[in-house]
């Protein structure tokens, strides 16, 4: 019966993890995720926005006056700059759009400091041009400290302007530059010497039939040209796909990039319709990978049964138990009768080995992967345990058992015979920009607060431990392989 409950709970978990984000993440055109006093915020078309305490569960409550479409919000110094289009991009009106900026000391509407400054216009389109000034986004160029904004929609061009990061106003004398056509909800990002322009193509606002998708071009200069993977300029409609429909969700739009740590990045967007949430438009947060300096949205991590393979040596995380040999009727290769039919050999089963395992905590180590029961880990979300930016916490148990991976007070890892849900048995699992994963306990026994520092790490080829995360070291990285 207990086993059945476990299975049921796993099924329930799997259903909930299908959600893009949990709670009530209903939004269209989410701004790049902003952090304020330990909470996450994103603002959408209309006047409101979403708040999350942990980055996984979202609810409404953020406030932004001014209405209109597709804002972006960025922390600059100790203030937040909000940029938004005051109009609707041809919906119920013409194409004379206005882009405005305003500041706030906090994003928390309950804070006494919460007060938006008077919005200032930084760009407009007059309705006669091949341009519609909506859907702005911000880039604070880490290379130069200059503040850039791209804006525009399907009606004509996407434009680039420069703002003053001190005032949020347009830089005097700045001349807008056309950098793309036919996109919506663009975003500019910078990484590794490249500027990237992300734009949304396809059909918006058509629910389960929306073909919205996010494409990208890149340039060595913020002013472009933004060229795609086949050498086509985004000014000629080019773009390489970053994310399209899938995972029972259609219409990803309005890209935003958030760097959590070096090598730990996520992208935010909305999906026009989440098939598991009545086809509503919802917030999506996905790991962001970089392949040959191109951004690629990874699948949401949902768990499963895996080898946990170290990137350091390629050894597999396993229980430190006796290697149990399998019996095999050996045939020397020169004695093989080619006419004898082949037959599959069974895998070693848990039942064949589990009786030999000790009762209490069993330490872990890394060794050659032999797809044996002590090397197979089942990773399942624990929705009631909260989450982090993109996903809920997971438990990691030996397949078919409740034996759970756990952090220890002296910064080591072990397994406990029974998963109890205590925070050192909960794991934050994030796909890194190179496709590997980092695996981080929610807390370290005896230490206050949520752990964001120590990750599962290879201190030696055979020895896992907890160590500070270092993207520059393969010791911090793991592959989750089901094979």
């Amino acid at each position: 019966m207990k086993r059945l409950l476990t299975i049921l709970s796993i099924i329930t978990c799997q259903l909930s993890i299908v959600n893009s984000q949990t709670g009530a993440p209903y939004i269209h055109d989410p701004s790049t995720i902003a952090e304020c006093d330990g909470r996450y915020y994103t603002f959408g078309t209309g006047s409101g926005g979403l708040i999350s305490e942990d980055g996984w569960s979202w609810h409404s409550g953020a406030e932004r006056p001014g209405g209109g479409a597709a804002p972006d919000v960025m922390k600059i110094g100790d203030r937040y700059l909000c940029i938004y289009g005051a109009t609707g991009g041809g919906l119920g009106g013409g194409h004379n759009g206005r882009i405005l900026t305003m500041w706030n000391k906090t994003l928390d509407p309950k804070s006494p400091d919460f007060r938006w400054t008077k919005a200032v216009e930084v760009a407009s389109s007059d309705g006669m041009e091949d341009q519609d000034a909506i859907d702005p986004s911000l880039l604070l160029d880490p290379a130069t400290g200059r503040l850039w904004c791209s804006y525009g929609t399907y009606f004509g061009t996407i434009r680039l302007i420069e703002l003053d990061p001190k005032t949020g106003e347009r830089v005097r004398g700045d001349v807008e530059k056309d950098i793309a056509i036919d996109c919506e909800a663009t975003d500019l990002i910078y990484r590794n010497g490249w500027y990237y322009l992300l734009g949304t193509h396809g059909t918006c606002c058509d629910g389960v039939n929306s073909t919205y998708n996010i494409v990208v071009g890149r340039s060595r200069s913020v002013e472009g040209p933004y060229i795609d993977n086949v050498g086509r300029d985004m000014f000629h409609g080019g773009g390489r796909m970053v994310i399209a429909a899938g995972d029972r969700k259609t219409g990803p739009g309005h890209f935003g990039r958030t760097v959590i740590n070096e090598g730990v990045e996520v992208m935010s967007c909305h999906f026009e319709a989440d098939f598991d949430m009545s086809g509503r438009s919802v917030l999506g947060i996905r790991p962001l990978l970089w392949k040959n300096d191109w951004p690629v949205a990874a699948e949401a991590f949902r768990g499963g049964t895996f080898e946990i393979e170290s990137e350091r040596r390629g050894y597999s995380l396993e229980l430190a138990v006796d290697f149990v040999r399998m019996e095999q009727e050996r045939q020397r290769f020169w004695q093989i009768d080619p006419n004898e039919p082949v037959k599959p050999l069974p895998n070693q089963t848990l039942e064949e080995v589990i009786d030999k395992w000790p009762e209490g905590n069993i330490p872990v180590r890394c060794s050659d992967y032999m797809f044996r029961p002590w090397q197979r880990w089942t990773v399942t979300p624990v929705p009631e345990a909260g989450g982090y930016l993109s996903a809920p916490y997971f438990r990691i148990v030996i397949e078919g058992t409740e034996r759970a991976l756990s952090a220890t007070a002296d910064l080591e890892v072990t397994t406990v015979p029974q998963f109890t849900g205590s925070p050192e048995q909960l794991w934050r699992i994030e796909q890194l920009t190179d496709g590997t994963f980092r695996i981080m306990p929610k807390s370290i026994p005896g230490r206050e607060g949520t752990n964001t520092r120590y990750v599962l790490s290879s201190i030696a080829d055979s020895t896992p431990t907890l160590a500070e995360y270092d993207f520059g070291s393969d010791n911090s990285k793991w592959n989750l392989r089901n094979h």
Binding site: G93, A123, Y154, G173, D182, H201
Partner: protein, 638 residues
């Protein structure tokens, strides 16, 4: 170097600078204008908000100098900082006392005179910095000019080769300056014959053999500064006081400080007010007015205006609140907290108007009007030529409350950018009058814009065209678009399109619609703009386009590469070769035909593009087996 080009500035700071104040991105005061190399160079003080390091808060604060130049008194180029207090060897690096300067040219060198707080001692000394160019770099001398303790230096170059320096701070004084321009070579003389009352900021010049000493002057107890002047037949006086050049500022801005300069036959008065800092008169901004002399050499009093001097191009952003004259109109800061956002004018109802003089329309071609307005009720206004009853250039209907529209329900009280077509395009330089034709309306700015050229009509006998360097075919015969009832492009399935295209193709021979032969100015043929100009409606349009491709020989194994917004079908010599279905955006090489042969001689390429909402366009070229565009053919115009 930062160029202030009004025509390209957008947003709040983007005033055409013909209006007062002339420099809008920083405070400027105490303007000395000089003509060097046929340009006007402006050497003002540079007011800033007192930094925390400055002892006396709320006081004047100036740490450096910029220089600006202009050839038309309208477009000013900021050449940046020419001297900072930290670079003055004898000055305090935290003095914030870089007050009113002057600059003169002698024998190819430029001598910049400036007051500063000396490291030792109290008060001010006057230094000189030398450059080879009016834009600097200016190298300051190691020590200030001995014997000149004070502020507001001004140097007069006499036509006998001598030069004199004047300064204030205590009684106004002057002295002969040695030919090295860096030291006095005569006694310090107190200026005699000037009226009682506080005086400073001397500006001396010579005109028609007479010497003028002009200066800010407080003529009444408890009053503020006027600009006044005296005349003499000798450079150091005694002086004959003549009266006022400009009266006190109406808003009690305490200081004024000025210079007079003749440029291209017209005299100008440069002065300052505190327009961008109405509640703090120590942050000031430079203005310009025309100035005239009477036959006897006396100066006609100048009335400060908002309009200032210079001619605006119609394509510049014209701050209409800087008007020349008005009836029942009121100006106010757009945001009293942020004066630098400028002002607007409110026309208070029918019959009210503002006139703005000196706008040059010769730069307009195919233009429309853009205007920044705010209204509480639906109303309208007209832009007219010359007078309140003049010919209507454009009429702007302002709808702030409309029945429908998801995003634009009530726009009353919001600043809106509106556009209007021109009913009449004035010629040359004329005056604009805005007349209110209904309820009250506030106007911030207006600007005429030339529309981009999208197409050029091709004459019957024109020579054949070539594909462009990327192979795009830009010459097309295009039929007046057919209106179709398509509200959304999501209906463009293969079956729907095939049926529609077949239907239209069958009707085509009977269509009486007009065809235009056009060269597209862009690689992409902007069908939306074609429809706008030649059709009845832009959205919900069906376009037929044809072109004739003339090949010198067979060109085999090429593909037709197309992109279209929205769906399209393509025929070569009557054979269907490609269809782009669905809600398309135009993408270069979005779809390609199978391999084709362009035969020697004439080939007819035909396309139909259908689009609901969106900015309809297409791009098309031929691509060879190597992926290169084909350009070895010509495009005929029949």
């Amino acid at each position: 170097m930062k160029t202030i080009l009004p025509a390209i500035l957008l947003g709040i700071a983007s005033a055409a600078l013909a209006q007062n104040p002339v420099i809008r991105d920083q405070y400027t005061a105490d303007p000395t204008a000089r003509v060097f190399n046929n340009k006007v160079y402006l050497y003002p003080s540079h007011d800033i908000m007192p930094p925390a390091a400055q002892q006396r808060q709320g006081w004047f604060s100036m740490e450096d100098y910029h220089v600006f130049s202009s050839e038309n008194l309208t477009d000013w180029t900021d050449h940046g900082v020419i001297l900072n207090q930290e670079n003055v060897p004898w000055g305090r690096s935290d003095g914030y006392a870089m007050w009113a300067p002057d600059c003169v040219e002698k024998d190819g060198k430029y001598y910049f005179y400036f007051p500063d707080a000396p490291k030792s001692g109290r008060g001010f000394a006057v230094g000189v910095a030398v450059a080879d160019s009016p834009e600097g770099p200016f190298i300051p001398e190691a020590e200030p000019i001995p014997g000149v303790m004070g502020i507001d230096p001004c140097v007069l170059l006499d036509d006998d080769g001598r030069q004199y320096i004047y300064w204030a701070g205590g009684p106004m004084r002057g002295a002969s300056l040695s030919s090295n321009m860096k030291e006095l070579d005569g006694p310090v003389t107190q200026m005699e014959g000037l009226p009682e009352g506080f005086k400073e900021g001397p500006f001396a010049f010579k005109r028609n053999g007479l010497y003028y000493l002009t200066f800010p002057w407080v003529r009444k107890e408890g009053g503020t500064e006027t600009l006044a002047y005296a005349m003499s037949t000798s450079p150091l006086g005694p002086w004959d006081f003549k009266g006022i050049i400009m009266a006190e500022h109406a808003n009690r801005c305490w200081t004024n400080h000025h210079s007079l300069v003749e440029y291209r036959g017209q005299w100008y008065l440069f002065y300052h007010n505190n327009f961008f800092s109405p509640r703090d008169d120590k942050r000031r901004s430079v203005c310009i007015e025309k100035l005239a002399f009477n036959a006897d050499g006396t100066i006609r009093e100048v009335t400060p205006t908002m309009r200032g001097v210079g001619i605006n191009k119609a394509t510049e952003r014209i701050e209409i609140d800087r008007y020349s004259s008005a009836e029942k109109a009121q100006t106010a800061y757009i945001d009293t907290v942020t004066p630098r956002l400028g002002a607007c004018v409110t026309l208070q109802g029918k019959g009210s108007w503002v006139k703005y003089e000196g706008v040059d329309f010769s730069c307009l071609d195919d233009a429309y009007l853009t205007i920044g307005v705010s209204a509480v009720e639906n109303t309208s206004l007209c832009v007219r030529e010359k007078s309140a009853k003049g010919k209507v250039i454009a009429r702007i209907d302002v709808t702030v409350k409309s029945e429908n529209g998801t995003f634009r329900r009530d726009m009353s009280g919001q600043w809106l950018t509106l556009t209007a077509p021109l009913q009449h395009t004035p010629k040359g330089i004329t005056d604009l009058v805005l007349t209110c034709e209904g309820e009250a309306i506030s106007v911030d700015w207006l600007r005429f814009k030339n529309r981009p050229r999208y197409f050029t009509e091709v004459a019957k006998n024109a020579s054949p065209a070539h594909p462009d360097s990327q192979g795009f075919i830009r010459r097309w015969r295009m039929m007046t678009p057919i209106a179709v009832d398509v509200r959304s492009n999501v209906v463009f399935t293969d079956t729907w399109l095939r049926s529609k295209f077949a239907d239209e193709l069958a009707k085509l021979p009977k269509r009486k619609a007009r065809w235009y032969t056009l060269d597209s100015e862009n690689y992409n043929v902007k069908l939306f703009r074609f429809a706008e100009k030649y059709g009845k409606q832009t959205y919900g349009s069906f376009f037929w386009c044809e072109t004739v491709i003339d090949c010198p020989q067979d060109i085999a194994n090429v593909r037709l590469a197309c992109g279209s917004n929205g769906a399209s079908m393509w025929w070569l010599n009557g054979e269907e070769v490609l269809m782009l279905e669905g809600d398309r955006r135009m993408v270069e090489d979005d779809g390609m035909s199978q391999r084709l042969t362009l035969k020697k001689g004439r080939n007819i390429l035909r396309t139909a593009v259908i689009n609901g909402p969106g900015l309809s366009d297409m791009c098309v070229r031929f691509i060879n087996e190597k992926g290169q565009p084909v350009t070895s053919f010509t495009v005929l115009n029949e």
